[in-house]
């Protein structure tokens, strides 16, 4: 529907006839005030406005229309006398489009402009509808996501509780298997062969105990993290103290270079270095004391190849040994749970250690990889962001 506003009846009617001949619906108003009343009550796709009217002139009407949010997009065509007032051009009225024609106007030209502007208005309306539709959809999806997240957190907590109870209940009969086997071995004279078999029972049961503990550790990794800003050298020192016994027994040498501070989960990082260092000791060459070196550099990209850059926001931690190494084609395999490169008779282990390392580093928004040569040694490389932007970190006060 088009609204035409003119104080002269003849003008209104001739314009109305023209428009209706071209199949437009038309409404009329004889003054600015009447026009505004009608605009507030009805929906118009275009307003044709005579500029020279007594009372409120065309410009004032236009100003009111653009001020009202419901109508600000309606395009306006001013019809004015030859001396067009530069005022409206300078003001840059409504976003719906403004144009003018001088009287007497060319009907064809007017129709052309009407066509353009009504199309423009229709498109603007469609766009707004799509926009609000999308906003509703996004809101609905976000609510769904929040709900799904809550469900996940709940099932995560349940899983953790289950893992804890299962591990506790599984450990009990295991403890008894171990204890009674030891009693049989020590209290009764059962002979050398029987003792050997009982030892195998004990060893298997101990391995199962370690496995259950490792699985429990792995399940705990799902919990929400709390990052603390800590010097990594401290973590590694603590790990070395924990491994004191085996380091002494194997005569292992651990050389630690400069290491930065980073936002980390201390317990989990300790686990990472415990696993990596004990691996390095375990997979050392026969008759050679393990030689382990730990150093670091900084880089701007989250990559192993990127060149070192002191101003980088990532640190790379290298842990190398001169052990038996492995064939790099198995790189993915070593980080996969329960995948082992050696038989159990050659090297003890549950096969979870490195997958725990990988999971922890991923939790820290970094990644871990390794370079190795069979017979020469391995270097593990951890790429770690110095800051975790998601949650605010607590500074460690010592």
């Amino acid at each position: 529907m088009i609204l035409i506003v003119d104080d002269k009846k003849e003008n209104l009617f001739s314009l109305k006839t023209l428009l209706q001949l071209n199949l437009y619906d038309v409404d009329m108003a004889m003054s600015g005030e009447e026009a505004l009343k009608k605009i507030l009550k009805n929906e118009y796709e275009l307003i044709i406005l005579d500029v020279q009217m007594p009372g409120m002139d065309g410009y004032e009407v236009a100003e009111n229309i653009t001020g009202y949010s419901k109508t600000k997009d309606i395009p306006i065509i001013f019809l004015s006398a030859v001396n067009i007032d530069k005022r409206f051009i300078a003001k840059g009225y409504s976003s719906g489009g403004v144009d003018y024609l001088t009287k007497p106007f060319d009907p064809e030209l007017l129709l052309l402009k009407i066509k353009t502007f009504t199309r423009l208005y229709k498109q603007t309306k469609e766009l707004n509808d799509i926009k609000s539709n999308l906003e509703h959809k996004v809101e609905a999806r976000t609510t769904e996501l929040i709900e799904a997240n809550k469900e996940l957190e709940k099932s995560n907590a349940e899983l953790q509780q289950y893992a804890f109870i299962a591990s506790h209940d599984l450990q009990e009969p295991l403890r008894k298997i171990i204890t009674f086997s030891q009693i049989v071995k020590e209290r009764f004279s059962i002979g050398a062969e029987s003792t050997q078999y009982v030892n195998r029972i004990i060893v298997s049961a101990e391995r199962m105990r370690t496995l259950i503990n490792d699985l429990l550790s792995y399940s705990k990794l799902a919990a929400t993290p709390e990052f603390l800003n800590m010097p990594l050298s401290l973590i590694i020192q603590e790990t070395i103290t924990d491994l004191e016994l085996i380091i002494k027994e194997t005569n292992a040498e651990v050389i630690i270079g400069q290491l930065p501070a980073a936002e980390i989960i201390p317990d989990q990082m300790r686990q990472v270095f415990q696993n990596l260092i004990s691996n390095a000791i375990k997979f050392s060459k026969k008759d050679n004391p393990p030689q382990i070196k730990i150093w670091s550099d900084f880089t701007k990209e989250r990559s192993v190849e990127a060149r070192p850059d002191l101003n980088g926001s990532y640190c790379r931690i290298y842990l190398s040994d001169k052990g038996i190494g492995f064939n790099e084609q198995y790189l993915d395999k070593i980080f996969t749970m329960f995948q082992r490169l050696h038989g159990r008779s050659e090297y003890e282990g549950t096969g979870i250690g490195l997958s725990i390392v990988k999971k922890i580093i991923e939790k820290h928004n970094g990644f871990v990889t390794a370079k190795s040569k069979e017979g020469e040694g391995t270097t593990f490389i951890i790429v770690l962001p110095l800051k975790q932007t998601a949650k605010p970190a607590v500074a460690l006060h010592k």
């Binding site: 506790h168 009990e172 403890r175 171990i178 204890t179 009674f180 030891q182 009693i183 209290r187 105990r209």
Partner: protein, 151 residues
């Protein structure tokens, strides 16, 4: 006046009682052991013995009819029994159980070890110090054993 040392073991798990008996017999065969299958039975036994009370009570936590913690509270309430040191001997390693037991008056908390050697070490230490400086013995054990917490 009693001559031999007496321990009371309160546990509903038959296997754990057997193991404890084995170790005790190994370490010090002269020490007598009486058993109770739960907290109520333990209290009955304790209240029926007027002059032959145990020197130490080893108390499990999760038992039927009366939980270990309740039994502990009852023992510490009773003027005839409250002087007996109570050692918690359980499968649990939860800090909430440890704190609670300490608050209720246990002298230390042992999580049942799977190593026979370790259990022997603990029982042996305690047996040797029953009539001596038990407190110090427990503190030393706490430092050397991962399953042992002293109050």
């Amino acid at each position: 006046m009693r001559n031999s040392t007496l321990f009371l073991l309160v546990d509903d798990d038959a296997d754990d009682i057997i193991v404890f008996k084995e170790v005790l017999r190994d370490v010090n065969p002269s020490i007598q052991l009486i058993e109770a299958g739960d907290g109520l039975e333990a209290l009955e036994i304790l209240r029926s013995r007027h002059d032959n009370l145990p020197d130490i009570i080893f108390l499990d936590l999760n038992m039927p009819r009366m939980q270990g913690k309740e039994c502990l509270v009852e023992i510490k309430k009773d003027p005839h029994l409250q002087h007996i040191p109570v050692i918690i001997y359980t499968t649990s390693s939860l800090s909430r159980d440890i704190e609670d037991s300490m608050l209720k008056g246990a002298v230390c908390f042992i999580t049942k070890p799977s190593s026979l050697k370790e259990l022997r070490h603990i029982v042996s230490s305690i047996s040797q110090n029953v009539h001596g400086d038990l407190g110090r013995c427990l503190r030393v054990l706490s430092n050397t054993s991962t399953t042992f917490i002293v109050c």
